[in-house]
């Protein structure tokens, strides 16, 4: 079995964002980058399936972006991935989901992947498109938003998360694409021996120019900070004075609920 896991490197959402001079994207210099959280569940699911099948499946982890994404790929190899693929693209952030999916499909086509796993969306753009588009381009069925996954003899039985805590149980045959929702599993922390082992695993670098180049369909015209409603009273400073101020507010609010 061949499994492809597609991961994206995203800024840590706790970071402070600044808009670039052109007003079209954020300044990347001040940010810390990490693996898109949703994709960590995809990596974990791939490694669990490999373990379930006695180590037979081969897990390839792919990411698109500048050289810094190799760090994220390396981390997934320490989680149990077998090899990495880095599609080198300095302009990845300007590409839309259609173009990103086309690059992935262009790489994956003809390589006989049985299962393609990825996050249901990215934390930065949250478009929830790439996984489904890759499936469409490869002609694979696609199940999205999975919070449960079990595999038996070529068939996956999965739970899709719907609204209000309801789940749908779905079944599909491989080959297929599946997108992972938060809470699907508990992604492991790489152990020190596995981190050492991962250093010897191969990350193949592929020039983006060697893959399909699709025209852009949607682009960011402007990026900006949301206008603050301005109604929030911000309480800063010493904790003792913060407490004084908040306690006074809560006294009136709690009185009104009694």
């Amino acid at each position: 079995m061949k499994i492809l896991v597609c991961i994206k490197q995203v800024p840590d959402m706790e970071c402070r964002f600044r808009v670039n001079g052109a007003g079209t994207w954020y300044e990347e210099g001040d940010l810390a980058f990490r693996i898109n959280e949703y994709d960590e569940y995809a990596v974990e699911q791939a490694v669990r399936l490999k373990e379930q099948l006695g180590g037979e499946p081969e897990v390839t982890v792919l990411s698109i972006g500048p050289d810094r994404v190799q760090e994220s790929i390396r981390k997934t190899l320490a989680m149990g991935g077998d090899q990495g693929v880095h599609i080198r693209d300095e302009a990845a952030a300007t590409k839309d989901p259609w173009q990103i999916a086309a690059l992935i499909a262009s790489y994956a086509r003809g390589k006989g992947f049985d299962l393609v796993l990825t996050g249901m969306q990215s934390q930065d753009r949250g478009s929830a498109q790439v996984g489904v588009l890759v499936a469409e381009m490869l002609g694979y069925p696609c199940a999205t938003t999975l919070v449960g996954f079990s595999y038996d003899d070529g068939v996956v039985t999965a739970r899709r998360e719907l609204e209000g805590g309801t789940k749908a149980v779905v079944r599909f045959r491989l080959p297929a694409v599946a997108t992972c929702q938060l809470g699907l599993n508990v992604p492991r922390y790489p152990t020190l021996p596995n981190i050492m082992k991962a250093k010897r695993k191969e990350i193949e670098a592929i020039a983006v120019s060697s893959l399909a180049d699709e025209p852009r369909r949607a682009g960011t015209r402007l990026l900006y900070l949301p206008q603050k409603r301005g109604s929030a009273r911000v309480i800063e400073g010493e904790m003792s004075s913060q407490l004084e101020e908040l306690v006074e507010i809560l006294k009136t609010k709690c009185a009104s609920t009694r």
Partner: protein, 310 residues
């Protein structure tokens, strides 16, 4: 603009959120029509044309067939925009329809400005205006972003849609109902919720103590539930419970869109967060910039003291 609204049917009934699409169509301007894979019981209270395919034949969830039906309706109607709710149904289907129509897709739209679409970015910390380069466009609309539609009324002109039925590649086996609610947050007057900012499971009692001191229930954001720090019955948000308390205290919650969807009906919101820029500040009445782990126990002590002495 000719917009086709994709309505949702689950368990034989129309999902209420579908009505939000009408407000979106209003904001966009132009003509609208609807498409629904469902049954008689799911027909919306709305005028205009409704392309209806029978869920008994195509299933309530079969993404390949549903996409084909929606594409067929869009072709017949000559739609240049197809709009979904950004829901587990909408985000699953929209890329398939966009792919078939050769359309650009813009996801989770929260505003329309001069024909361009406004969307969030980076957990709500940033906004983007999107422009599309294609003739047609597929949209998913953020839940709760377009609400200004009046009470639904009217009845549609129904046009039956049929396509050649094929065995599903993704088979819907059935639904699993939500776990029984052991905590009823929906009717609570005060809700105090814990977010990832509390750092670890061991700090949950700090938030529970504050909830107790304020006479409220304990809520949580999704990451806290996913991490197993609290069970799902405490979760506030679009995949948990929707709350409307008089007082909501968000402790270490950054304010992801899905969380805000579950609590923005609160009358008064206090957020305690060390990140002054966290999106929770957008909906908060008061934002205390502090480390929750230090601040909350001190606050609890003060509120307990107040309760004792009056």
């Amino acid at each position: 603009m000719k917009t086709l609204l994709v309505l949702e049917c689950r368990g034989g009934r129309l999902r209420e959120e579908s009505y939000e699409l009408f407000a979106f169509a209003e904001a966009l301007g132009g003509e609208r029509a609807m498409v629904l894979i469902g049954g008689e019981g799911a027909v919306p209270k709305a005028s205009r044309r409704l392309y209806l395919a029978d869920a008994a034949r195509y299933g309530e969830y079969d993404p390949d067939q549903h996409a084909k039906i929606i594409v067929e309706a869009a072709r017949r109607e000559g739609s240049d925009c197809v709009a979904f709710v950004h829901s587990s149904y909408g985000w699953d289907l929209a890329p398939r329809v966009a792919s078939a129509l050769g359309a650009a897709q813009v996801s989770e739209v929260l505003g329309v400005k001069e024909g361009a679409f406004e969307v969030g970015c980076c957990n709500g910390k940033l906004r983007r205006t999107m422009a599309t380069d294609t003739e047609r466009v597929v949209i998913t609309v953020q839940g709760g972003a377009f609400l200004s539609w009046e009470e639904p009324s009217g009845s549609p002109e129904i046009v039956a849609v049929e396509i050649a039925a094929e065995p599903p590649r993704i088979e819907l086996v059935g639904y699993e109902a939500a776990e029984a609610k052991t905590v009823d947050l929906g009717s609570a007057e005060v809700v105090v919720s814990a977010g990832r900012g509390i750092g670890k499971k061991e700090n949950i009692p700090l938030i529970a103590e504050l909830a107790k001191a304020l006479g409220g229930e304990l809520g949580a954001s999704r990451p806290v539930v996913d991490a197993g720090w609290l069970d799902h019955s405490h979760q506030v948000g679009s995949t948990g419970q929707v709350v409307r308390p008089r007082l909501y205290v968000a402790c270490g919650i950054s304010g992801a869109i899905q969380h805000l969807a579950g609590m923005k009906g609160a009358e008064y919101v206090v957020a305690i967060n060390k990140d002054k820029d966290a999106p929770i500040g957008e909906v908060a009445d008061v934002l205390v910039v502090a480390d929750v782990v230090q601040f909350v126990p001190a606050l609890t002590a003060r509120m307990q003291q107040y309760a004792m002495t009056g």
